[in-house]
Amino acid sequence: MITKRIIPCLDVKDGRVVKGVQFVELRDAGDPVELAKFYDEEGADELVFLDISASHEGRKTMVHVVEEVASQLAIPFTVGGGINALEDMKRMLRAGADKVSLNTAAVLNPTLITEGSDFFGAQCIVVAIDAKYDESLQSWRVYTHGGRNATNWEVIDWAREAVKRGAGEILLTSMDKDGEKSGFDLALTKAVSQAVSVPVIASGGAGNGQDFVDAFEKGEADAALAASIFHYKETSVKEIKSYAKQQGVSIR
């Protein structure tokens, strides 16, 4: 049986991990490679690095971070943030990333998905969707620019479109649940997972082990991602995995 994946997400700005990381035992809490190694040892199945640098210099630094991580880790990882063109994808994949994640750029220019997929294979191309429930739609709407701009896309339609254009995986973030620690948006996750033929990563709302179990069993997610609960050591990858395993979820 293929196992369900637990994925810590690291926000990287100008080459350093941000978001108030509390890892006292690490020599350098802000070093992406140190943190990546820590999560690897904890049993993380995969990692996501989100480049939130605003400057050109910061983006260049990210390439070095990716090279460094790739040279020291033997687990897969995805890089997202600031990937706006085929050239950006090339740069990250050549530096050693296994996948790139497209968000706003994919909505603004959907042919980018196809270009990347044709060039590198669908398995390299993750489309990240920021979703928020919309009363008037009676469904979820796609947001771009870090959740600031509403689009006309309905999430299910956009997910299907993205897959049709060559996305190999969907990273689905619930803006309603993000940071609430009250569990993933199960209805959203299930709806998208059933609508597409590729794996879906649930994101936003992770609080405890049961939330992950629910995401897999009720939300039908293939993987689940979290940031703050791991960074702030409210729980650990190891703890989540052993709990999920006890509950009968297939876990590495």
């Binding site: 293929i2 690897d40 897969p76 669908a122 995986e169 033929s197």
Partner: protein, 215 residues
């Protein structure tokens, strides 16, 4: 030294970095004269079967690989590189492979015998079921490895199946015959077990070399 075959389709970086972590020498090259100096070859591969074979044919690497393997040069194919070892593939029309092992490559159906759909690509960590002893599997008795693929090998030659992984179909995960090996998953991304397999391949080369040419 391992020769990583560079034909423009591989994730060369991650394979070479894995060998660096093992402290094992390698070269990345498309030049037969260079690659011939190696004790064994790695054929990586990401992308489509047809494109890969076109590249290998155009660069005459197909002939080089076949000749060297016939002379006894060990070869390890990874992911698409493993699929290329077989006779042919259905991906984007039927394409002939390297024909070093018996079997063909087909798309994972994505639908069960009962008509239920499931996800393709087969992506993520899956367990291994071991069928036969092999130098590549020394010291490995259980564990999960990382897969990303939509096509899989179908073979009637049970002898080449060293390990499989259960999806809806049984996915050949590690194949091997004499000095030709393949892994459908990415050993360089499969944590300690994957690194052990690469180490085993390096050990196999060390034990075998330099005498293989006399075989």
């Amino acid at each position: 030294m391992i020769g990583i075959i560079d034909y423009g389709m591989g994730n060369l970086y991650s394979v070479s970095k894995a060998l660096e972590r093992l402290n094992y020498d390698y070269i990345i090259s498309a030049d037969p004269a260079e690659l011939r100096k190696a004790k064994g070859l790695i054929l990586p591969g990401v992308g489509a079967f047809k494109d890969a074979m076109e590249q290998l044919n155009q660069t005459k690497l197909t002939d080089f690989i076949k000749e060297e393997v016939a002379k006894g040069m060990p070869l390890l194919g990874i992911c698409l590189g493993m699929q290329l070892l077989f006779e042919e593939s259905d991906e984007n029309g039927v394409t002939k492979g390297l024909e070093l092992l018996k079997g063909r490559v087909e798309r994972i159906p994505g639908i069960t015998a009962e008509g239920q759909t499931y996800k393709v690509p087969h992506m993520g960590w899956n367990s291994l079921d071991f069928h036969q002893q092999s130098a590549l599997l020394d010291g490995i008795s259980e564990g999960h490895v990382y897969f990303v693929h939509s096509y899989y090998v179908k073979t009637n030659d049970q002898d080449v199946l060293l390990a499989t992984s259960p999806y809806d179909v049984e996915v050949p995960a590690v194949v091997g015959k004499e000095h030709v090996f393949g892994t459908q998953f990415h050993p360089e991304k499969s944590s300690a077990i994957g690194m052990q397999m690469l180490q085993n391949y390096a050990n196999f080369l060390e034990k075998r070399s330099p005498s293989y040419e006399q075989i």
